[in-house]
């Protein structure tokens, strides 16, 4: 798997995700600067990491979504190439309209930094093939603007087309309002684009890939990608 991690001014999770990719695929990903106009030849997977691109000025992800590298990322996605955006990366994907919807301020108004449980909704994708359908996993979130919002028509379409990747749930797998850290529509924590080669998600699977940090539930996502893109 040839992966490229895009670094924006203000990104801060690029090394975490690079380590998770390297652990899964035994290959170091390339770092690509936001001002670059091309991805390295043969890139299979583009990663937009978490952080605070452009200081989150104007709206989270808005400035980054228009940076020069994003044209190459859009072309890559249009060719069927894989893209994953985590946290601020999800906000960038939404602003770039590579996935539907927007990420709004958490309903609680608070920055939320803790582990959450997620229900894996779709397992027939390159990102999630290693999980069991309905599996409950535990991964951290750390964000102030992760409240996923889309109109009902869009939400119905996402659900009908199997494009909800993860939902916030409790430890037992119940999808309840109390289990959501941010008030997201229908507890949505991650969504795919229409071809399901682009995934945006708020939680940080890259920070749950080693037993020493508390769990390995996030590693399966990177293992799934490494296997699909071997």
């Amino acid at each position: 798997m040839k992966a490229a991690v895009v670094v924006f001014p203000g990104s801060n999770r690029e090394r975490d995700i690079a380590l998770a990719l390297e652990r899964a695929s035994y290959t170091k990903p390339a770092y690509v600067w936001h001002g670059d106009t091309e991805l390295p030849a043969g890139t299979d997977l583009v990663v937009l990491p978490g952080g605070f691109s452009y200081g989150d000025y104007l709206r989270c992800g808005a400035m980054a979504s228009l940076s020069p590298v994003m044209r190459a990322v859009k072309d890559h996605a249009a060719r069927g190439g894989y893209v994953i955006g985590v946290c601020n990366g999800f906000q960038i994907l939404a602003e770039a309209q590579l996935v539907p919807g927007v990420l709004m301020r958490n309903a609680s108004l608070k920055f939320v930094c803790r582990d959450v449980h997620l229900k894996v909704e779709a397992t027939d994708t390159a990102f999630t093939a290693g999980y069991r359908p309905g599996q409950v996993i535990r991964v951290p979130v750390a964000h102030a603007e992760g409240n996923y919002f889309a109109d009902d028509e869009t939400l119905n379409r996402l659900e009908g087309e199997g494009r909800v990747a993860f939902r916030y749930c409790d430890e037992a797998g119940e999808v309840t309002a109390a289990a959501s850290p941010n008030g997201a529509s229908r507890n949505i924590a991650g969504v795919f684009n229409d071809r399901r080669n682009v995934l945006g998600m708020m939680p940080h699977p890259e920070n749950m890939t080693e037993a020493v940090v508390g769990g390995t539930d996030g590693a399966l996502l990177f293992d799934s990608l490494a296997k699909a893109l071997a």
């Binding site: 104007l58 808005a62 709004m104 108004l109 919002f149």
Partner: protein, 79 residues
């Protein structure tokens, strides 16, 4: 020519910041505030001198960057 742009959340979209401000006003002893909506104000200094062309330019800027039209409305005032 200057353009003043107001960006506001559409009605029906939850505005937690506006709600927090409304709550704070109530607790400060300002009753009777039914609702508060928080928005953004941007002031653009434009080289363009023709009002109609300037409005078109700023509209394009709003659609592309300044507002997220999924959840936000915008209004443009030229001065």
């Amino acid at each position: 020519m200057k353009a003043r742009v107001h960006v506001t959340l559409k009605y029906g979209v939850l505005d937690p910041q506006g709600k927090a401000i409304a709550g704070a006003l109530g607790s400060l002893g300002f009753p009777g505030v039914n609702d508060v909506r928080q928005g953004k104000y941007l002031e653009l200094d434009l080289a363009e001198t023709d009002a109609e062309t300037a409005r078109e330019q700023v509209k394009a800027m709003c659609e592309k960057l300044l507002a997220n039209t999924v959840i936000e409305n915008y209004s443009i005032e030229l001065v």
